[in-house]
Structures are given as C-alpha cells and as structure tokens.
Subunit: 426 residues, 2 copies
C-alpha cells in the first residue's frame, strides 16, 4: 500500500500502565517526523473520545508536556473500559467511529491497548475497507498482565515487575525483622487470569532467605490444604513466610478464590471483579497454620509506579509506539507491533508485526515450566525470561518539594463537525 | 557524670521503618570513634535478644555491611513486639536484662524505638541505679506514626510520607484516566491512632485535580453519611474521587471503623489489630454513592520503601543515633534524643534531649488545625510542617538485575555467659 495524507487519531485503552504514555510519546514524536499526517489528534478517554467526538490537538500541547510523557505514568489522554462487541451487536458504534474519522479526514488510527482493543481496531479496519474508506489501523501492545500472544512480552509488564520486586524485597525485610510476632505476610498482585505478574515478583528472592518464599499463580488450581502445608514447611525451614499471590487464583472447581459479590461484581466487559485474595489467604494462614499474618495489596499503585519504573520497559514501549506510526505512514494496516527477543546470550529486543485478528483471539498464559513442580515458586526459566525486562531505571523529575513531577495535557479540543449522536457519552 | 569503660548494646524495637538502620549506623559508627566502648554488641530481635542472651558482635561485621545500613530498610538486627510491662509485673524481665548486661560487662544501652521502648529503657535505667550498677541508657526515636512527644518529628515518618505521596500521585493518575468506569479509589495508610501518615499523603495534591481529593484521619470521628456526601460533592466537582484513609479511623462511639475479629485481633501489646478500612470505605462508596470503587493498601511495604526514601529522614535518623551514642559516651543517661526544628524560613534540624520518662508517657496527635474545617483534607499548616521532611532521595544500590541490593548482618554471636533462663525465647 502507499500512504495517504490525512489525520491521525491515537487512543489509549483499558487499565493504565507505567509506560503507556511512553508508547503515546513514540506515536506522537514519530508522527511529527512524518509528512503524511495532516493532524495529530488524541482521543479523550480512549475510544469514548472518538464516539463522543472529543478529540484534542496534540500539536497544540507544549513541547515539554510531550517530553514528560516518557516519565509520566497512567494514560495521559485518558482511557476507558467501554466495550465494543462483535460487528452485529456493536455495528452502530463502529459506524459512528468511521463517521467521526470521515468528518475529521482521519485516515490513520493507532490504538494502544490489549486484546479487546486489538479486536476493536481489527473490526474497524475491516469495516472501513468494506465501505471503501481508506483507513490505516495499527495496534500498540499494552498490558501489565503480559498475556498478549505473538509478542515476546508486553510494554507495562516490566515496570510492574520491577516495582513489585522492590516492594516484595522491602516488605519481606519487615517480616524478616518481626518474625517472632508478625510471622507471615501475603502480598497480593494484579494479573487477573495470568500469573505473569505474580511470578515476576518471585524474582525478588535471590536466596532462600529472601522474600518471597512462596508464589501462587492462577494457572494452577489453588488448594487451601496444600497452601497451609507449604506455609508450615516454610515456617519450619526459616521461621517466617512471605507469600506472593495473584488476585486471580482459582480453586479446583475453577472458581475465583476471592470472588466479589454485589452490584459491582462484574465490569462493563463482563469480567468478574476480584478483591480479597490477600484477606482470604491471611485467614487460611491464621486459621490453619496458627500464626499471625499481615497483607499488602498495592492495587493500582503497582501499575503506575513510575518512581521505580523499568527503563527497558519504557524504551520498548516508546519503540512500539514509534514503529506503529512509521508502519502506518509506510502504508501498512491491520497489524499490532510485537516485541521480538533476538537470539543470543545478551538480551536484545527488536520489533515485528502480528495480524490484529490473530492477537485479538489469543492469550498467553504463564508456561507451566516457569513454575516449580509444586507450583509454589518460580523456576530459572521464569528468571531468564523476565529478568532482562526489569533492568535500568527511568529517571523521573522530582520537584523541590520532594515529590515526582508528572505532566498533564492541556487538551485543546478540535471543533465538533459530526452530527450529534445519542450513543456512548459515559 | 563521667564515662566508664564497658560494652555497648544497641537494640531495635517494634515496627520496622525505612530508616531505623540509618539510626543503627549512626550508633555504630559513632561508637567506633569513641574509646569507652570495650565491645559493640547488637541484640538479636530487639529486647528478646538481650533476654535470650543473643548478642552479636558488630565489630565482626564487614565494613560494607555497616555502610549498607544507611540504604537498607527494616531492622537489620531484628526487632520484636515483646512487651515489658510495669516493674511489678515484669520485674523478672528487667532483672534478667541487667544480669545479661553484667555478665557481658555492658554499661551502655541504646534503644531505638517508640513509646514502649522508651518506657522500657527508662525503667531499666532506674533499676540499675537502684542496684548500684553503672548503666547508661539512651533512646533514639523511631516510629512511622510520628506520635512521640518532645521531638518535632520522628525518624521513619518522612520516608513513609514521601513514598505515600508518590504512590498516591501515581494511583491517582489511574483513577484520573479511568474515571468513566473506575470512578473512586480508597488508599489506606498506616498510622494507627495518629493521623500523621494519612495527612502526609494529603501533600500529594498540588492542585485540585491531583489526588487525593479527600483525606480522613483518626483524630476526627468518621461518619459514613458525611463521607458519602464528601464523595458525592467531589464527583460533582471533578468527576472522580481519590480518598486517603488511615487504618485507625474511629466512629462517633470511638469504635474502629474496621475492627478485626478473631484470635489475632489483638497483638502482644493488647493493641487491636486493624484491617479493612479500605474495604469498608469501598463498600460505603459503592452502596451509598453508587459508583465503582477500587482500593490500595500497601501495608508494610510503605514503611520499608527505601527505593524512594527521604534523604532528610535518613540523615536525621543517622544523626539521632550518633548523638545518642556520643551523649552516652559523655556520661549522660536517661534521655531520648529529640529532633529540634530551628526557627527561620529555611528548614534546619538539630538535636535535643528529653527525659525517657516524659517521652514514655505522652503521645502527640495530629493538631486539629492541620486538617481543614470539614476534616476531609489537610491545611497549609500540615504542608509547612511535613513538607521539609520528604525532601531529597536516598541513593540506593541497584544490582545488575535491576533490583535493590540490601545488606544483611552475618551475626557473629558472642559466647553465652549467663545462667540459663526459663523466660522469653519466642
């Protein structure tokens, strides 16, 4: 394909990460270098911004704001969890998006997100083709969960891993110092149905002494009995137990160990909301093992911890964004940029392309061999895989007041040109 | 008084902090400079180490381990929650401590801890005097709760404050990006009955946009109704709500908002164990306000977060330890070193001395004027007070693997010389 002249819309989707703004920075700075983009627009709050025709002009942002993207966590353009379903169920939404693109002469769409976003981008690209509208669609991978297929790993994962390793080391020292009274600690990580994040925190144990002593992931059914046994054995061995557990642990019947009840039990995507694995495991330790147990649940702080972000992760996120835009400018469409680990002893990462439709319909769980036989700690394979992703630290700006300085867009919205629309809003 | 030749025992007590090892480093490095100390011993796990005659020789530790104390969180000599009560109830324990000191020719005791430790040190000093044993007792303040009287602030507080400010800023950006679905977040801090820590996290809001939008402390009774109103108003104003709440919130009847039940409901000190303020507030938000609410509870990670520790805090902790040892070497006894804020526009901190007995029997709550009238956010007075304490960052060592490198003692225990004892152990 050859490129066309037209506007570019970039959007950020789903749960924020420490480095999703680095990808946005890569998209924007590369777009500024290319001639084919008549406008560089960001959608306010992900796809909602397109549906609601809330687009702001990136070129009107201060240069230092654009620069600050690489050291500012979370989604600076805003994100959302608005779910586009299949073409039949959500045709109106897809048509609306194309309408907005047409009104603003947008011919490029870069979507930074996970599976669902790649699915949306894919369907949108196909609909445009069907309707004869020239739209170049590219995806940039983003998820702390690290569960996208076709890419060696996902931007966002390395930073959450690095932060969790430091936090587990630190909270682990607390349990080490106070083991005569506060004998056990459960540390709950995100990760939903994939154990990548919990497993990554396993790297904090450089020696037997170090936390964590036990690690549990959703890929292997969780048994309270086996868990209590593991804790007892650990107490016998070293007098204390520091446990990392994924929020998404499931029992042998496939039920979440800590399923939430009530009105907010599922989100807009129908995903079950999880809460309370740490409280559940704490109760098991206190009741079945008989020692006091504390718990830590850093929650959303973990996926935005730029103050100890991974430089490797940040640079790769930037690269993925940059390559997506360059590839679109070169006339390609329908791909997500992938991260490719080059062969060899030293870690080196380049990029590739995967079809959006392929990525949309696959997910990558933690391989069983990344966990030990008892499924209660990680193996060297996991360390070899995830170790390189947490190297290097992002240098953030720190104010005179001792706190980080993060950027914020001014958001100069472009004039609305489309017919009013009854859908979306939020 | 004049000084005597004799051994020094140093012990760390209670909940670890990011900088309690900096105080230990100050004690040790100053002791190495003085001639009066025939031995420099550390008690293994606080006062338990003295009772159990588990003392290790600091001079046998590697020089780099001693250096690493200033950048290693938690209590490297070990800590404990073993409670010594009044002289009548715990006389055996106090006598045992003196026996151990006599056996090892120890004439100096530096205790790094909070109220309870100052009380122990005080009683011990008085008993020694009664028995005609020359013992110089000095206290070094340590508590993240910042509730010790007679000192402007407490080592440990500045670092937890700095880390929480960064974490609240970061998790706050998550809520900001995702407000259309994940509209509210509760962030639970430590601090027990004092609101210093929760209030310190209030400093993260440099502008109305910034998290936190609401801050709640234990000094003012918590009302679910008023809270729900506050959240609703905040949602109306800026479309999202980020809430900082202390673990120790109490209702109008004086009951903990989230009191824990069961076997581990109180610790050895009779302190009620708290858990679940964040879950409780999340439920209130979802039920009474009707929006989805997430929560973060960093737990013990917050008091050991050396990867973003306050340099001011670390240096003051070192200074307090150093001055305590020097003061003891000069022949004084029965004092805790205090931190004194010098008058003037620029922050400058020196040290003073307060009687152990005075410190033991007082506690310093957050002044009402550090909170606004509605008691739902901090005032400029709080910022003026706590702002200087979070300035500067500790430089930690980071390994090639991208994770912090923290030290550990080898613990060369000195030979036991005392009669066996039936008490303590743990």
């Amino acid at each position: 394909m050859t490129s066309v002249e037209g506007g570019l819309v970039v959007a950020q989707s789903g749960g924020p990460t420490t480095v999703i703004n680095s990808s946005l920075c890569g998209v924007v700075q590369e777009a500024m270098r290319q001639d084919c983009f008549t406008q560089i627009l960001a959608a306010n709050n992900g796809i909602l911004g397109v549906l609601n025709e809330e687009l702001f002009d990136i070129r009107k942002e201060k240069r230092e704001t654009i620069e600050s993207l690489r050291r500012t966590p979370s989604a600076m353009a805003g994100s959302c969890r608005y779910k586009l379903k299949g073409m039949d169920a959500s045709r109106e939404d897809y048509e609306r998006i194309l309408e907005v693109f047409r009104c603003h002469d947008v011919h490029y769409f870069v979507y930074i997100g996970g599976n669902d976003s790649m699915d949306t981008a894919d369907k949108l690209g196909k609909l445009a083709e069907e309707e004869g509208y020239d739209l170049r669609v590219m995806g940039v991978p983003k998820t702390i969960d690290n569960d996208l297929a076709y890419t060696d790993h996902c931007p966002g994962f390395g930073s959450v891993a690095k932060y969790l390793c430091a936090s587990v080391m630190e909270a682990g020292r607390d349990t080490e110092a106070l083991y005569t009274s506060d004998t056990a600690t459960v540390f709950e990580t995100m990760g939903r149905n994939a154990g990548w994040i919990a497993a990554s925190a396993g790297m904090a144990s450089r020696s037997k002494e170090d936390a964590p002593h036990l690690v549990y992931v959703p890929e292997v059914p969780f048994s309270a009995e086996a868990f209590a046994k593991d804790v007892k054995r650990t107490l016998k061995d070293i007098g204390r137990a520091f446990i990392v557990a994924s929020e998404g642990l499931v029992d042998e019947e496939g039920n979440y160990v800590a399923e939430q009840k009530g009105e907010f039990a599922t989100d807009a995507f129908g995903h079950k909301q999880l809460g309370g694995v740490s409280e559940t495991l704490k109760t098991i330790v206190e009741q079945k093992v008989g020692v006091k147990c504390r718990y830590c649940k850093p929650g959303t702080a973990q996926r935005n911890a730029m103050h100890f972000g991974s430089l490797t992760d940040s640079e790769e996120a930037y690269m993925a964004g940059k390559v997506a835009t360059r590839t679109a400018a070169e006339g390609e469409s329908g791909f997500m940029v992938t991260l490719v680990r080059e062969k060899g002893d030293d870690y080196r990462c380049t990029t590739g392309l995967a079809k959006l439709s392929d990525v949309a319909n696959a997910e990558k769980k933690l391989p069983r061999e990344y966990m030990n036989e008892a499924a209660n700690h990680i193996t060297d394979e996991m360390r070899k895989y995830a170790g390189p992703l947490i190297r290097g630290e992002v240098t953030i700006e720190i104010g005179k007041d001792g706190m980080p300085v993060y950027g914020r867009f001014e958001k100069h919205f472009v004039e609305k040109k489309c017919p009013a629309w009854a859908g979306a809003k939020k």
